[in-house]
Each structure stands twice: as C-alpha cells, then as structure tokens.
C-alpha cells in the first residue's frame, strides 16, 4: 500500500475521480432539461463525467509507471507549516470583524511565523508591529476600507 502512496499520478488521478464523482452525482439534484433547453444539471453532469474519465486516464498512467514511483523517495508531505499557516488564516478571518485589525494581524503573524525553519521571535514581533502600522495607515486611514482597528472601535 505504502508503495502506491508514492505515486503522484495515481493519487492525482484518484483525486480527479473523487471530485468528478461529487459533481456527477450532485448534478442529479438539478433538472437535466434537454439539449435545446438545458437545465441547471446538464453541463455539470457532462463535466463531472469528463473529470472522472480524465482521472481514470491519469491514474492509469500512474499505475503504468508504478515501478518508477515505488523506487522514488516519495512525495514528502510536510504538514506542520501547512497546518500552522492554515489555522493562522482561519483565525485571522474570525478575529478581523470581532477584534479588529491589530489583533488579527498579530494572531496571523505570530502563528504563521512558527512555520519557518529559521524563525526569530524578535524579528517576528518587529514585523507584527510594522505591519499593523502599515496596514492601518494604508487600508484604514488611506483607502478608508471598512474595518475595525481595535476591539473596542
């Protein structure tokens, strides 16, 4: 099994098949109509089917080259930075309307900053301050975008 997880083409193909199926099956919720009077389900069903078909081809190529893939070092996922940055962005989205820009920027920089190999906390603090000042000046005072600056403003 592990050997198949090294196969980029196979995994990509399976991904396309899965997404294609979602679209294909989902299209049954919408009326098909006829070619002359297409319903909302017509085009999605064609696309879903095409995507599944392409997925099968891609996966097939992957299987054909399985020996080469098995001999490779594998894909090498590194999830730590992915999780850190993603959580940071999600929290930013939550914080911005509620706690204001300053808090949101600090949360974003503090969390995502951990993702670097060569992190330096003093530098991160400096960037956070600089970015808060810059964004407040440009986005809130300069461009007048509708955003809270502080939790209480």
């Amino acid at each position: 099994m592990n050997q198949f997880l090294k196969n980029k083409d196979l995994l990509a193909g399976l991904m396309f098949i899965a997404i294609g199926l979602i679209f294909f099956v989902g299209a049954y919720n919408y009326s098909m109509g006829t070619a002359a009077r297409m319903g909302p389900g017509y085009f999605p069903r064609i696309l879903g089917g095409l995507l599944v078909f392409m997925g099968i081809l891609v996966a097939g190529v992957g299987l054909k080259n399985q020996a080469k893939a098995a001999a490779s070092e594998g894909i090498g996922w590194t999830w730590t930075p992915v999780v850190l940055v993603t959580v940071a962005v999600i929290l930013f989205g939550l914080a911005l309307p509620r706690l204001g820009m300053v808090a949101a920027v600090i949360v974003l920089i503090a969390l995502s900053g951990f993702a670097a190999h060569d992190k330096n906390y003093r530098e991160l603090a400096l960037i956070a301050v600089a970015m808060c000042v810059f964004c407040a000046a440009v986005f809130i005072w300069g461009l007048n975008l509708q955003m809270k600056l502080w939790p209480w403003s």
Binding site: G20, V89, P97, D118
Partner: protein, 502 residues
C-alpha cells in the same frame, strides 16, 4: 491614419498625471515582486484587486498591467545577478546572464536585457494597437457556437503550451470549469453545489481562488523547501553594453520580439513560453561554434528571451481586449479587474470605452519607458531587497493576502476560502498538477456554459451547429489537430525537452 489618432487619444489618457503615477506604482511593484522569488504577478494582482475599487477603471487597469510587465523586468535582474529567476519567465535568462555576471559583465547583461525589453515592448505595443481594432470587429460577428468553440480551442492550446503532463493539465481545466459552476445558475436561479451555505450561492470568488493557490499555496511550498538563497554581490560593472554587444544582439532582439509577440497571443502563452522558445531558437541558430558558447555567457542568450518575454506579456492583451478571452492566468485576473468596474471584456470595449482601451495600450509604452529609465539606476536597491530573508517576507505576504481578500466583500468566509485553496494549492503542487489551467477554466467556465446553452437553444438542440458554422468548425478542427499533434511521440519528446531547460 486611424492608428495615430487612436494612439493620440490613448496617450492623452495615459499621460495624465494620475495615470502616469499609477503606471509608475504598477511598474515599481511589478519590479519588486519580479525581484523577490516566491511571489509572482498572479498573487500580487489578486492581492491588489480589491484596492482598485477606489480607482477609476483606466487607472486600475494601467496599474495592474504595469505589475505584469514590470515583473518581467524585475525577474531578469535577479536571474542575472544571483542566478535566481524571480519569475518563471526569466529562468532561461539565468543560463547565460549569470555566467556573464560571473565574468564581471553583469552590467552589460542587465543593460541588454532592459534595452531588448524596451525595444520588444515598443514593437508589441504597436502590434496590439494595430491588430486589436480589426480583430474586435471580426469578433463581433461571433455567435455563441463560435465563442464556445473558440474557448475550447483556447483551453486546449493552453494545455499544449503548459508544461508537465498533458492529461493532468486537461483534468485541471475541467476541474476549474467545475469549480466555476458553484453558485446560483443564472438561467434557473438554482443554487448549484452550494451545500446550503449562503456564502456559496454567490459562487467562489476567483480572487480568493487565485490568492489561495498562487499566494498561500506558494508560501506553503516555499516553507517546506526552506531557504537556499545566496546573494552574489559582485560589481555590476558598466551598464551600457558595448557596440560589439549591440551588433551581436540586434538579431536576437528582433527574433525574440517577433517570436514572443506571436506566442503571447496564443492561449496559454504569454511571457513564459515566449522566453523558453526564443532561447531555444537562438541557441539553435547560433550552432555549436557560438563564441562564447550558449550557457557560458553569450549575450544573445540574454537579449532574446528578455525581449521575447516582454513582447509576449504585451501581446497577451490582444485576446483579452478583442475577444474577452484571457489567454493566461494574469489575463484572467484582468477580466476580474474589468468586471469589478462593470466593464464586460470583449469586442465591444473598444467602441464602448475607447478612452480605456487606448489609454491602457498607450500606458504600456509609457510603462516600458519608465522601466528602462528607472530600473537601471535602481538596480543596486533591488539587489539590497534580495537580502530580505524569506522568513520575514512570507508573514507580510500573508497579511496582504488576508486583508485583501477580506475587503472584497467584508466577509470572513472569503478568508476561509483562501485558507482552503492554500491547502489545495499545496496538494496540487505536491502531486505535480499545474494550477494555471485551473484558473483559466475557472474564469472561462461560466462563459462556456452560457454560450453552449445559447448555441444549442438557437439550433433547437442540434449539436451539429458547432460544425455547420464555419468559424466554429475551424476552431474545432484546429483543436482536434492540436490534440493529434500533441499525441505524436516525436512532438511529445520535443515538448518535454523545451521545458526541461532549467
């Protein structure tokens, strides 16, 4: 002469103080991100789109266009000085440019790159001005069936010219079109694939998709790789190339400009393909006994791709401005920029908004002139910027992405969408699925469905309409031919070689 009056109108728009200022901002920003590896024009334009709400449409487009061609200039600077192409379109410039720099001729290489870019920019601006009006007129005769077939051709051509696996690129296009379906169907009012989430009934914002994949996804990949950037600080040397260099490069610049202009118009083309192809062409023409050999610091290897990528960047505006069909990801964002300002891209722009149309074209030349004048003296500053380590850079990029996307609709959901597409972009990159075709499909998808629907409505459901209309039939035949050519083993091998130059 119509051309001259039209360009006159254009320059009167482009040379107003405000528009010169925005062209300057665009060029400087473009150069900046061109110099900095790890952030490209797609992410930058996506980030800045929301802030262009406050600008008049012409100024907004002028600035965004400046970012695109400015990035071509900036990319060459780092390619030559530190062997690190800031943009993918400058990858081949590094081959000979860096070797020249090591021999103490960095100045000549940089100067020749800038001069070549400027000549190419001038020529291709004229080309856009000359060819856009007749093409727009022709495009007005297009019916829905013709448009649909044209988009098919465009998407298939984009696959041929993309690098990496053809099958995956096709799958990515279809995936992009499918993602474009999410949201309320304009004809029936049915909310498709919205999973009862109110935010999704408006569809997924393409700014969020572009920023997520090209901004955040890119960061995730860079973080994984860690940093391997060495700044090569040598003397830049005399910036003006010698007369000998000029004589050597003149043909290369001319061929690069011609090839680049041609490839820029093709869907999927633009700057990247232009620079790769013209480098290969130059290498082939020079033959084995070039002195110095290619890859060892031949100035033609700098002049040709740099002219070509700038020409390609410029002429890729032609399909956008005349047909409303974006040939690459950056142009797809320009479609977005135009729709933000309620301008429907397409053949009617030239008659409905002549000020905007000609102003934008004239500004390209103004911008190119600025880049030559400004960049050469500022090279020292750009090199200093390269010393900013990535660990400081990426939190800033993240902040701009997040604030930028939030301000599109003042909506937390959009921020979550970029988080999701960041992860998706990372997965795509790990599975070697090129994301640019996805963005193209995402933009073209709704237009394709609409035109397919209309074409079949008019023909009462008869699919033969696509073959009966001459324009449509031609497009489809061309598409099939492209696919056949692509399947030929000899071409397949050639195509792999072209993109494995780095």
């Amino acid at each position: 002469m119509d051309l001259i009056t039209n360009l006159g109108v254009g320059f009167s728009v482009a040379l107003t103080f405000q528009n010169v200022l925005y062209a300057l901002i665009g060029c400087l920003l473009g150069t900046l991100i061109g110099v900095l590896p790890g952030i490209g024009p797609v992410a930058t334009i996506a980030m800045l789109l929301p802030t262009t709400y406050v600008l008049p449409p012409v100024s907004a487009l002028i600035m965004l266009a400046g970012i695109y061609y400015g990035a071509q200039y900036g990319g060459s600077t780092t390619a030559i000085l530190v062997n690190l192409p800031g943009e993918s379109s400058s990858v081949v410039t590094a081959l000979d440019g860096y070797q020249m720099a090591r021999k103490g001729r960095a100045g000549a290489a940089l100067g020749m790159a800038a001069i070549g870019s400027f000549i190419a920019g001038t020529f291709s601006t004229l080309l856009v001005a000359a060819f856009a009006p007749p093409l727009s007129e022709a495009a007005l005769k297009f019916g829905p069936a013709d448009y649909f077939s044209l988009m098919i051709l465009g998407l298939i051509a984009a696959v041929v010219l993309a690098h990496g696996s053809v099958l995956k690129a096709i799958a990515m296009i279809i995936l992009g079109i499918a993602l474009g379906l999410v949201g309320t169907d304009v004809n029936s009012g049915v909310a498709r694939y919205s999973f009862d989430t109110p935010e999704l009934t408006d569809g997924i914002g393409f700014v969020a998709v572009a920023m997520g994949i090209f901004g955040i996804g890119e960061i995730l990949i860079n973080l994984e790789r860690g940093e391997a950037r060495e700044v090569f600080t040598s003397k830049v040397g005399k910036l003006l190339p010698s007369w000998q260099d000029f004589k050597h490069s003149f043909g290369a610049i001319a061929r690069g400009t011609g090839l680049g202009s041609l490839l820029g118009v093709l869907p999927g083309g633009g700057a990247l393909l232009a620079s790769f192809s013209s480098y290969s062409l130059e290498k082939k023409l020079a033959g084995a006994n070039a002195d110095p050999p290619f890859g060892k610091g031949n100035i033609r290897g700098v002049a040709a791709p740099e002219s070509a990528n700038n020409a390609g960047a410029q002429t890729s505006f032609i399909p956008l401005l005349t047909l409303g069909i974006p040939p690459n990801a950056v142009m797809a964002l320009m479609v977005g920029a135009m729709t933000i300002h309620n301008i429907q891209p397409g053949p009617q722009v030239i008659t409905a908004n002549p000020q905007l149309f000609w102003g934008l074209i004239a500004s390209m030349w103004v911008g190119n002139l600025m880049l030559v004048i400004l960049n050469l003296p500022l090279i020292g500053m750009w090199v200093q910027l390269l010393k900013i380590p990535y660990r400081l850079l990426y939190p800033m990029i993240l902040v701009f992405c997040c604030i930028g996307v939030y301000t599109v609709n003042n909506n937390t959901f959009d921020v979550w969408v970029i988080a999701a597409f960041g992860v998706i972009g990372y997965i795509f990159a790990k599975l070697e699925c090129e994301p640019a075709p996805l963005l193209l499909g995402f933009i073209l998808g709704p237009m394709m469905e609409e035109n397919l629907r209309r074409a079949l409505l008019l023909s009462r459901g008869d699919p033969m309409v696509f073959l009966q209309r001459p324009i449509s039939a031609t497009m489809l035949v061309l598409s099939v031919l492209l696919l056949i050519v692509l399947a030929l083993p000899a071409i397949r091998k050639k195509r792999e070689e072209t993109f494995v130059e780095d």
